[in-house]
């Protein structure tokens, strides 16, 4: 056992309001400069939708991440490093600026300086790349709130898997938001893709970084990352990516995106994992088993054997204590309500998500079921608007069972807490129905709902 520490994040999508404050504060702090105008270390996607850059999840096209070959060995989907070296000057899997978007500004000065004319001055758009007039046709968030859905949703790779069930009509509409940062993977394909050895994972906390001095701008990391969370600065010619705000983390502050999240849905914490087992876990045969394999990598910080091994590997008591008080550990491993994003990419991502509840489908809500059902908030999981297959396509390589279990757990918590809320006798059979004790359900409720600053970070 080689115990290593990893900083990880959980985002509770059930609370995400899709406001993009995280994107803006992140951009202001880190990428509000030339060369990275189009770069959003943190972005928020409306799902269903194409994401940013568009269709990045379509690995048939972009070939990011890892695959397990017929011999059971893990290799980069885009081909081994040897092949990569051959393609180093022309990478066919590199997203173009159109796949992100052509950044633009406006002729704002015209508003102040326009001479007396016939019409009111306006500020038309100008490309930030060429300076030329342009029509804006795509952005980092073009399909926000299902905008352009009739044309755009066909390009959602996850929706394609469940599309036979989805009709694009108001009565069946559903949406939710997916905020994304770098996954700071345990098995980062970007690091493995870099021919210069410029990318690395910080030994003490697992943050994945680009060494700005060593980066030679080959951009193999860009194509190697299946989440497309490494970007190319066209001014400096170097790769840049989310740094997990290490200058803040190092002085005890949460990441910018976390602290400024007004949905209060982000949790930061430390995880311990067994570094010796990462490759085996990432090589798990069935994609649907990768979630469990990833869970198994995470070590119980309360286990004395783990603690001893951690100490041996240089992890201090403070860090061990942080791992024990980690809200991220509680949500991922104890309550098992957080799930990894696309475990099938085999990168062992370290940003996890609590999947969202949604309203019941129109057909159910139009019916006259018993009004008393207001207390039974977990009766209708199968009738929720977001198809469970869609969520499973994001978080569990298509296996609906874990998603169903999480949604049931959330619904059970609501039903259980309704009794508390109305000062009735709480019903212990409700937590029991999802395999939880009253105590742990109440603790989970506090973590998800009360979520004080000190609890979140």
């Amino acid at each position: 056992m080689r115990v290593m520490a990893q900083l990880a994040m959980v985002m509770n999508l059930d609370k995400c309001i899709g406001c993009h404050t995280c994107s803006v504060t992140c951009k202001q702090a880190w990428t509000n400069r030339s060369g990275v105008e189009y770069v959003w270390f943190n972005n928020v996607e409306t799902r269903p939708g194409q994401g940013y850059p568009r269709t990045y999840e379509n690995q048939d096209r972009w070939e990011g991440g890892w695959v397990r070959d017929s011999r059971g060995r893990l290799r980069l989907r885009a081909g081994g490093r040897f092949k990569k070296l051959l393609n180093i000057f022309s990478n066919p899997k590199m997203p173009s600026i159109e796949d992100y978007y052509e950044p633009w500004t406006y002729d704002y000065e015209n508003l102040t300086t326009a001479p007396l004319g016939e019409h009111m001055p306006t500020a038309p758009p100008r490309s930030l790349l060429s300076g030329e007039p342009m029509k804006v046709t795509w952005s980092a968030n073009w399909d926000d709130n299902l905008g352009g859905s009739p044309e755009i949703l066909a390009g959602d790779p996850v929706l394609a898997q469940v599309s036979d069930k989805i009709k694009l009509e108001l009565e069946q509409a559903f949406m939710f938001y997916l905020p994304r940062i770098c996954e700071h993977c345990l098995n980062p394909s970007c690091v493995a893709s870099c021919p210069s050895g410029a990318m690395y994972k910080r030994a003490e906390d697992g943050i994945v970084l680009v060494d700005q001095d060593k980066c030679r701008g080959w951009r193999m990391c860009v194509s190697g990352c299946p989440y497309k969370k490494v970007y190319f600065n066209h001014r400096t010619g170097k790769a840049e990516k989310c740094t997990f705000c290490y200058p803040r983390i190092e002085v005890g502050l949460p990441t910018v995106c976390s602290e400024t999240c007004v949905g209060r849905l982000r949790y930061l914490g430390l995880l311990l994992y067994d570094a010796d087992k990462v490759l085996a876990a990432a090589s798990t045969e069935r994609e649907q088993d990768l979630y469990e394999a990833q869970l198994d990598l995470l070590l119980d910080p309360f286990d004395p054997a783990v603690a001893a091994a951690a100490k041996e590997n240089g992890i201090t008591d403070e860090w061990l204590e942080a791992a024990r008080r980690s809200p991220v550990y509680a949500l991922i491993k104890q309550y098992k309500v957080a799930l990894p994003l696309h475990p099938e990419y085999r990168t062992m991502p370290m940003v996890w998500y609590v999947p969202p509840l949604s309203p019941v489908v129109d057909a159910i809500s139009r019916e006259a079921h018993d009004g008393e059902n207001v207390d039974n908030l977990f009766g209708a999981i199968s009738a929720l608007r977001i198809p469970i297959e869609y969520l499973a396509g994001l978080f569990t390589a298509g296996d609906t069972e874990p998603v169903d279990r999480v949604l049931r757990t959330l619904a059970a918590m609501r039903a259980y807490m309704r009794d508390h809320n109305l000062e009735r006798e709480p019903d212990p059979s409700i937590p029991a129905s999802v395999g939880m004790s009253e105590e742990s359900m109440y603790e989970m409720y506090r973590l998800l709902a009360i979520a004080k600053y000190e609890q979140r970070y």
């Binding site: 009111m120 038309p124 926000d144 994972k201 001095d213 007004v262 209060r264 849905l265 090589s283 809320n421």
Partner: protein, 1225 residues
């Protein structure tokens, strides 16, 4: 199974490669880890470093009032992140941290952006004329006057408005020109031709007050904003006698059933939305009502897809279910007790005979029963269920201002049990006629239902409850009339089946949600809450919709509860230290009363939108009314309202109010009497009756903290054409001759270019600055000291300067201080000290609201009598204006504070100690008009003065206020603030951290003991009356004009029929050339706060980057529109060019053009007109609802931003078509 990486060649490469790498390559060659020595990462550490962090906030009208950390490096603002240090709300609740949204997070972009106004600018054409005349004449005022007297020159610069050609000028020149315009206007026409527009004081109280104080000291008029924005729910004064009072968002956490009705919380209340997400985890059920699949529906358990504008029908049907099941079939004790105590349901209404049946009449009062004691006409009566006796309980308006009412203005009932119905076995009953409006074009038809009656004297009476059951169609055995057969009866209003056909919401869902809502309220003690928003408020009949929904809350005992009741969040940014702000802003420390104008009335008249009304005021009337609007144009209604003292109008008279005072003196007649006589004789006219006469035009308008002409101007093109006199896209036809006003002068040539001067203060270029004659560069919110508060949280916190105002920018405070000084200098020559006749309407929360018993109209112009000021017309006051000393008054705290006291909602306190304290702290002015008075010469001093003069921020005044209220109510109330006597919130405190406010009689809820603020908890718990006729919440409003529109009771009124009223096509019409006719809605945007941020590069980058229209796939297909195609929307009011966002979350027949998208960003020339496409409000226009002009009576009386016509804009339609994809700028 063998695991490993790649193949042997790659392994070899990697194995050799790792010797050149400083990091540690994992044994499986997967990854590289590294410790220490990371020079390559210094870049990010450097980027993060900064010199200081300063607390500030955003003074934008969003109700957020979020506290922010502003980062500064090398004297440059770099970015901002949210503060997280709000005082805790308790261990078992989520906190307010962090508060903010992406828009706020993008604010610092403005500081150094290319759209920043860095220097004073003025219209080049005007500057040239002014310089020439100024040089020649040697006097700024004479120079200004000469230009204004020359029609050719005047029109030349007016026509140039908004067309570029702004040039840089100096501060000296700009302020001299501005001051000259003011002085000239006062001298020539009188001070009430000057107006100021600046909304929402709470979003930066000092900046607002600085300008308003300047306007009010000179006698100008401040125009209202809350009603003008259509954010005022007129139902609130009608039902509660309160402007609006709502729970802080932290109180959503207390709800156990939460409905969001027309309020898209994640978008419009972004920093508060987390409460909605979190409260679900307590087991609270969440239901949303909206026409589209809105953002908030993501968080709902159920969505009620209610067709746009039909929400009132759903509300009425849910009310039908609740009344029938919970108040008739089962008399739920919790509800029955509540409505007996706190509502007007048990009060008696006299029925009036009409065509062989009866119609609901007026509230029966003690006066009607022969009681001749004081104010008996304002003591409505009810029946004591124990004794059958008819009596007038405590707490009604008759107890509020009278000597005999001292100690009795309370809701104590003693042993009295108010009887909800006069229904008795074998009792008498009569058919009652009621109005229904559920016709396709909204016209009225008559319903016949029945009520039990009791004969009192010579009158037949029933209770409000009896009328409510008749109105809602809840049948009780033995009553005459036509009634619904059951819930499934779709023909009779207001059943669940009836609403299904209108709203599209299934009857089953309406019944179930109504039941759940009521059951929850019963079990939780009233913790059923409805968050209500602009989606239902901003319609022409938004007040009717609101009353239908409020009824659900009041009937279930949910109002005045933590976790229950209404949560109306539309533009309501609560100025918590209201008394302090009002004293500063209205300059009531020096002069009283202030001139306050209903914004909608002002713009309706002065932009000449009234001249395009295609219908008469009685088009909306009930056939059961008294015909009071027959033959009247809405402008006539406004004039009648003004004449009777119901609503204000400025300018007041067709003559200078300064000269009028001189005339009265010369005639030796007291001014009020003189004015009344002159009006009666016709020698003096109300300006409202001749608004297009040049002597009655507004002349000088100052706009600050606002973008009137790019954001809120409903009927924007009419503003451009008539008020400003520049190019416009108005396409409407004037009112045909047979529909023109009866009492208001119609001139043949509609004036163009009424305003002499448009002045704006801003830090960015907007439509308003582009259309202004003078633009002064303002400091941003990160460059000045000010105060912020909101209704959404219970704190007061600070703006503080992160940097000094850059370039030549100045804070609003410093700008008005500067202008005031220049004004004083010019006034010494041209104005001197004058006496000013000020006419103000009969005001709410004053004895003036008892002028018109029963709200019965009596227009002296029709009767020929001489009006009596304060009785049958507005009050007349004479105010001395010391114009040369204006700046000295402006910068010092005047003496009226302690001599007359400061008053909010009829509670007066005397802050003599505070004046002494302020004098000690701030020093006193050494000379001039303010000699010896506390200084107000810096923004921080004004902030501290605001805080010192309000109960919410000064515990002593809160206690004093409660003592005053104790005397009137006879109830113990001081305990609500006791223990806070020593508490003084200062500006410095608010800079350190957001500070919780103190419970004060200025508001209706209590924060005592750290509880969450919810409105009306003091009324419910302490038996303090509401500020209404009965002192209770009203279902029934018996004002004449309410009766005229058939709206005494909650009722469903559909969207206005603009096809019938204005000849627009019907929704769904497809015309080959013009496109498709759709409902045109302007909901609030995700990417801006009104027009602020819609030009911000971050927000534009995250959205579609310019003006857009959301349209359903179905509608887009009808006109061949693909996503991102350019489309053009055209109706009679104007034109707009947009790009389409096609989405299946939109319903058919409805488009969204998010408020507020301006011409300033990516707006091409319109194909149809060849001129610049418009703003979102180019397609809207003002539609004035006559009932909003009702006044003079109890809660239906004017107060500033409390009651007035709304600038509603949601009933509009437009044609939309795919236009040429080649656009020109």
């Amino acid at each position: 199974m063998s695991t490993g990486i790649d193949g042997p060649v790659a392994d070899l490469l990697l194995r050799s490669g790792r010797f050149f790498t400083r990091g540690e390559v994992s044994p499986d060659l997967r990854t590289i880890s590294k410790t220490g020595g990371r020079e390559g990462d210094v870049f990010y550490r450097d980027r993060w470093s900064h010199d200081k962090v300063v607390r500030s906030t955003h003074g934008v009208n969003c109700t957020g009032s979020c506290s922010w950390k502003v980062y500064v490096k090398d004297g440059i603002i770099t970015w901002e992140t949210q503060e997280t240090d709000y005082p805790s709300v308790g261990p078992d609740r989520p906190e307010y941290e962090p508060r903010g949204c992406p828009r706020g997070a993008a604010f610092s972009w403005y500081t150094y952006s290319p759209t920043r106004v860095r220097y004073p600018y003025a219209r080049g054409v005007l500057v040239e004329m002014y310089r020439e005349a100024r040089t020649r004449l040697g006097d700024p005022v004479l120079a200004w006057a000469e230009i204004q007297d020359d029609p050719e020159r005047r029109r030349r610069y007016q026509r140039a408005r908004g067309k570029g050609g702004l040039i840089r000028v100096t501060w000296d020149e700009a302020t001299e020109m501005v001051a000259a315009a003011h002085v000239h206007t006062i001298k020539r026409y009188g001070p009430d031709r000057v107006a100021g527009f600046s909304p929402i004081p709470a979003m930066s109280m000092v900046s607002h007050a600085a300008g308003s104080r300047f306007v009010e000291l000179m006698g100008g008029a401040m125009t209202s904003f809350y009603d003008w924005y259509a954010d005022l729910p007129v139902a609130s004064p009608q039902v509660f006698g309160d402007q609006t009072d709502v729970p802080e968002s932290g109180d959503w956490w207390d709800a156990s059933y939460l409905m969001l009705w027309g309020s898209n919380v994640p978008v419009t209340r972004t920093p508060d939305a987390h409460w909605m997400a979190e409260v679900r985890y307590r087991g609270t059920k969440v239901v949303t009502v909206s026409p589209d699949y809105a953002d908030n529906t993501k968080f709902a358990d159920e969505w009620m897809p209610c067709a746009a504008g039909t929400d009132g029908a759903l509300g009425m049907a849910m009310g039908h279910v609740i009344l029938r099941e919970f108040l008739v079939e089962k008399r739920t004790p919790f509800f029955v007790d509540y409505v007996q105590r706190y509502t007007d349901l048990p009060f008696l209404i006299a029925l009036e005979e009409r065509d062989g049946a009866y119609v609901p009449g007026k509230n029966l009062t003690a006066a009607d029963l022969g009681d001749e004691s004081e104010a008996s006409a304002f003591k409505p009566v009810l029946v004591d269920g124990r004794t059958g006796e008819v009596l007038a309980p405590n707490g009604s308006l008759g107890f509020r201002y009278t000597d005999s009412g001292i100690g009795k203005w309370n809701l104590e009932l003693g042993d009295v049990v108010p009887q909800l119905t006069v229904l008795a076995e074998s009792g008498e009953s009569v058919p009652v006629l009621l109005t229904r409006f559920d016709t396709p074009d909204g016209h009225a038809e008559v319903l016949t239902r029945g009520v039990p009656v009791r004969r009192i004297g010579d009158r037949l009476c029933c209770t409000v409850f009896d009328l409510m059951l008749a109105q809602y169609g809840v049948h009780r055995p033995g009553l005459p009339g036509t009634w619904p057969a059951g819930y499934e009866d779709a023909a009779e209003p207001y059943t669940p089946a009836w609403q299904e056909a209108i709203t599209g919401v299934s009857a089953a869902q309406a019944i179930r949600v109504a039941r759940e809502f009521a059951h929850n309220a019963e079990e939780s003690g009233g913790r059923s809450m409805i968050i209500m928003g602009a989606g239902i408020c901003q319609w022409f009949h938004g007040d009717a919709t609101y009353r239908a929904i409020l009824a659900l809350l009041i009937l279930t005992g949910s109002m005045g509860r933590n976790g229950g009741g209404w949560a109306h969040y539309v533009g309501q940014e609560k100025c918590r230290p209201i008394t302090g702000w009002a004293t500063m802003a209205m300059a009531s420390d020096w002069v009283r009363p202030p001139r306050q104008m209903i914004g909608t009335g002002y713009w309706y008249a002065h932009t000449d939108q009234w001249r395009y009304d295609g219908y008469r005021a009685d088009a909306l009337a009930s056939p059961l009314g008294r015909g009071r609007f027959a033959g009247m144009h809405t402008m006539d209604v406004l004039a009648a309202s003004t004449a009777m003292g119901w609503m204000p109008f400025f300018p007041q008279f067709d003559r200078s109010s300064l000269e009028l005072a001189d005339e009265a003196d010369a005639a030796g007649v007291p001014v009020p009497q003189y004015v009344a006589q002159q009006l009666a004789s016709g020698a003096l006219k109300l300006a409202v009756t001749d608004p297009d006469n040049p002597v009655n035009w507004p002349r000088v308008l100052t706009i600050w903290r606002a973008n009137l002409l790019g954001s809120s101007s409903k009927g924007n093109e009419y503003f451009l054409k008539h008020l400003l006199g520049t190019s416009s896209n108005v396409r409407a036809d004037p009112t045909p001759a047979d529909l023109r006003p009866r009492d208001v002068t119609w001139v043949d040539e509609t004036p163009e270019g009424k305003l002499d001067l448009v002045l704006s203060l801003d830090f960015r270029m907007t439509s308003t600055t582009l259309l202004s004659d003078v633009v002064l560069p303002a400091a941003t919110w990160y460059e000045k000291a000010d105060l912020s508060s909101t209704d959404m949280h219970p704190y007061v916190h600070a703006f503080s300067p992160a940097i000094d105002p850059p370039w030549e920018t100045r804070s609003d405070f410093d700008t008005f201080h500067t202008i005031a000084r220049v004004f004083g200098r010019l006034a010494a020559t041209h104005l001197g000290v004058r006496r000013d006749v000020v006419m103000v309407p009969l005001q709410h929360d004053t004895p003036g609201e008892t002028a018109y018993p029963h709200g019965t109209e009596r227009d002296w112009r029709a009767t020929g009598e001489v009006p009596v000021p304060g009785k049958t017309m507005g009050q007349i006051a004479v105010v001395t204006r010391d114009y040369p000393a204006l700046a000295e008054q402006w910068e010092s705290l005047g003496p009226l504070v302690e001599t007359l006291g400061v008053t909010t909602k009829a509670i007066t306190v005397y802050p003599d100690q505070e004046v002494a304290e302020l004098a000690g702290r701030h020093g006193v002015m050494g000379h001039g008009a303010g000699a010896g008075r506390p200084a107000l010469d810096t923004a921080v001093k004004m902030a501290d003065t605001i805080l010192a003069l309000a109960g919410t921020s000064n515990g002593r005044l809160a206690v004093e206020g409660f003592k005053a209220l104790e005397r009137r109510t006879g109830r113990r109330l001081v305990h609500l603030a006791e223990g806070s006597e020593e508490k003084r919130i200062s500006y410095a405190d608010t800079v350190a951290r957001p500070v919780p406010v103190i419970t004060s009689p200025e508001w209706s809820g209590s924060e005592t003991g750290g509880r969450r603020y919810a409105p009306f908890t003091v009324n419910v718990e302490e038996l303090k009356p509401w500020h209404t006729l009965t002192g209770r919440m009203h279902f029934y409003v018996d004002h004449d004009w309410m009766e005229e529109l058939g709206e005494q009771l909650p009722v469903f009124r559909p969207p206005l029929d603009v096809a019938g009223l204005f000849g627009e096509p019907r929704i769904g019409t497809v015309d080959k050339g013009l496109g498709l006719c759709v409902r045109y809605l302007t909901p609030h945007s995700k990417w801006s706060i009104h027009s602020e941020y819609q030009d911000n590069l971050f927000m534009l980058s995250l959205s579609r980057g310019g003006p857009t229209m959301w349209i359903s796939g179905i509608d887009a297909a009808k006109i061949g529109v693909a996503d991102n195609d350019w489309v053009e929307a055209v109706n009679r009011n104007g034109v707009m060019v947009l790009r389409a966002i096609v989405s299946h979350r939109m319903p058919e027949g409805v488009v969204f053009v998010h408020h507020a998208q301006e011409r300033t960003i990516d707006m091409p020339l319109a194909e149809i007109s060849g001129t610049r496409g418009g703003i979102h409000n180019s397609l809207t226009r003002l539609l004035v609802k006559p009932t909003h002009l009702a006044g003079g009576y109890a809660q239906m009386s004017f107060a500033f931003n409390y009651l007035g016509p709304t600038g509603n804009q949601r009933d509009e339609v437009t044609m939309v078509r795919r236009r040429s994809q080649e656009v020109q700028y």
